[in-house]
């Protein structure tokens, strides 16, 4: 069945159909994967890959397309997690709704932060985002209670166990989590594919290419970057809520720390930023490296996977500035013919 779709699209030679086909095929395979994979640890690992793919895709939505390197996105992840958990524990609100509030808070924050900072270029922007995220993290780590809300500082928040309860976003097996994060990822990928073809995508790429020229062509950079930044922050926050529900525990160090931001960015960049499938590819390559390094060497070679991340990052920047997806795309072109993806 897969082959027929692929064959059809090659024949029709549609420029965009190819990407859609690849996207649909990947999602289908992922959706069917649990039929084969029943081992709970493998499923858990796959959830982590999908989670990081989702986070990298969210990051890519703005940073990949507008060409800015945000190392502060973990802040939005934390907001999503904290808002949905606190609304659940304090108000009894279902995390399914709470995550939307978290997303909105992240959106508002993104716009407030983005307005002044998106004017900054290159490293200045990166450093500013690090500073913003660090401020939020340090503040939460040191605040046990704020305006009557028990933030619990560095201790982190616990999601009380409710057993198998859809509205509480809690399940006793891994499978529901798998399909939830898979559908989140699907939405994020489709949103990215749609955005890339829409006015927003063109404007973002134009801003990345030459800001002055984009302005002269009627693009208001502040408006479009803020819009994309807000959407990206919203998606990242939803990922934070998922993380909180999946592990039923969050703390500022992990949920808002620099390391998570670096993970999101590095996965996108190595996979191919500014492409729909690049971040997914990056997460699929890098997440298992970390797992294998840990599984095979235990504590024998500390930090090995991060050394690999670093080397891969350098190699990509120097030799594959468009990410690992570029050579794959070229290979596909050679063997399957047709237009660029």
């Amino acid at each position: 069945m897969k082959t027929t779709i692929a064959a059809k699209s090659t024949r029709s030679g549609g420029l965009r159909l190819n990407q859609t086909t690849v996207l649909v095929t990947i999602l289908l395979v992922l959706a069917l994967a649990p039929i084969v994979v029943t081992d709970s640890f493998t499923l858990h690992s796959m959830i982590m890959v999908l989670f990081f793919a989702y986070m990298a895709t969210s990051w890519n939505f703005v940073c990949g397309y507008v060409g800015q390197l945000s190392l502060g996105h973990a802040m939005f992840n934390g907001m999503g997690g904290y808002v949905s958990v606190l609304m659940f524990t304090q108000l009894g609100l279902s995390p399914w709704l709470g995550m939307l509030f978290g997303g909105v808070l992240a959106m508002v924050t993104a716009v407030l932060i983005g307005l002044p900072t998106f004017r900054l270029k290159g490293p200045y922007f990166t450093l500013t985002m690090i500073a913003f995220a660090e401020i939020v993290r340090i503040w939460i780590e040191n605040t046990n209670e704020f305006a009557g809300i028990p933030l619990k500082g560095a201790e982190g928040l616990i999601v009380p166990n409710r057993g198998d309860d859809f509205w509480a976003f809690q399940f006793s097996t891994k499978l529901p989590y798998y399909y939830i994060i898979l559908s989140f990822l699907a939405v994020a990928l489709v949103a990215t594919a749609w955005m890339e073809r829409s006015k927003l995508g063109f404007c973002l790429k134009a801003i990345r290419g030459d800001r002055d020229a984009a302005e002269a062509l009627g693009v208001n950079p502040t408006f479009y970057t803020s819009l994309a930044f807000a959407i990206s922050a919203f998606m990242t926050a939803i990922g934070g809520s998922f993380y909180a529900q999946f592990f039923r525990y969050i703390n500022p160090e992990r949920s808002m720390g620099l390391e998570l931001s670096i993970d999101m960015a590095v996965m996108s960049i190595i996979g191919g930023q500014g492409t729909v499938l690049g971040p997914l590819l990056g997460a699929a390559i890098l997440t298992p490296i970390a797992e294998i390094a840990r599984g095979e060497f235990g504590g024998g070679l500390l930090g090995l996977h991060l050394v690999v991340y670093g080397l891969a990052l350098m190699l990509c920047v120097l030799y594959f500035p468009k990410g690992a997806i570029e050579p794959i795309r070229k290979l596909c072109l050679r063997y399957f013919g047709g237009n660029e993806r």
Partner: protein, 294 residues
Amino acid sequence: MDAFILSYAVVNGLLQGAIYGGVALGLSLIFGVLRVVNFAHGSFLMLSLYISFWCWSLFGMDPYLSALINIPAMFALGYMVQSVIIAPLIKRESAMVVEPLSALLLTAGVFLVMDNAALMAFGPDVRALQAGYYVPTIVVGGIPISGQRLIAALAAFAVAGGISYWLRHSDMGRAIRATAQNRDAAAMSGINVSSVYAMTFGLGCSVLGLFGALIAPFLPISPAIGLAFGIKSFIVVVLGGLGSISGAIVGGIVIGVFEAVASQFVTATSASIGSLVLFILILIFRPQGIMGRA
């Protein structure tokens, strides 16, 4: 807040701030010439601290004496990182594919590799070295001043002055300044730009070689120490003006004194949030920093 405590805080802040400034010098120099924000700056310092530690631990070498090893070693490492890793990017950029963030990403890669390779090689344990003698604490007006910190702080001023003088009065220094102002014009007037870049990167790192030796005697050393100093250096350098030598010292002192005085009124944590806020405000409203030219 009585005057004694306040002046004590200012003295503390001056000492610590000058050290921050000294550590940040190389970052500013490299940015000023290459326009590269070296994300791995702290990692170089970390490595330099380890060199001092191992010299002491294996050969019983005095930490101050180990500067004689640190400085050339860090210079060589910096020279190599520039010519092997960053130079290919700069060459590509002159071929019109301008990606201003690539250099930052490259050095971020260097940071990941160095920090974690150190973790693999040295383990996570905290090390500290103890000199065989005791550098006395001086008491001035009732305020004790750590001798080791005073030496490091004075060195920061000396090095900043030395580099400024050298940049102005030596042939290499003039070549570096010319390249910083206009790479293409410098190349056309016969300056070997790639050698100037590698020299500058090496020089920036060798300053860290010196400070590694100067602060190793009083600082616990672990693979994670680099990031702590790295982020502080970014703040210091942005505050003082990226690329400005004197700005690095001024920025360091401003941050040092600000945090020292502020933490007498609020918690030290709030003071460090305060310095991050200051950092953001500077970037947004005066990106050239306190000392930088508009």
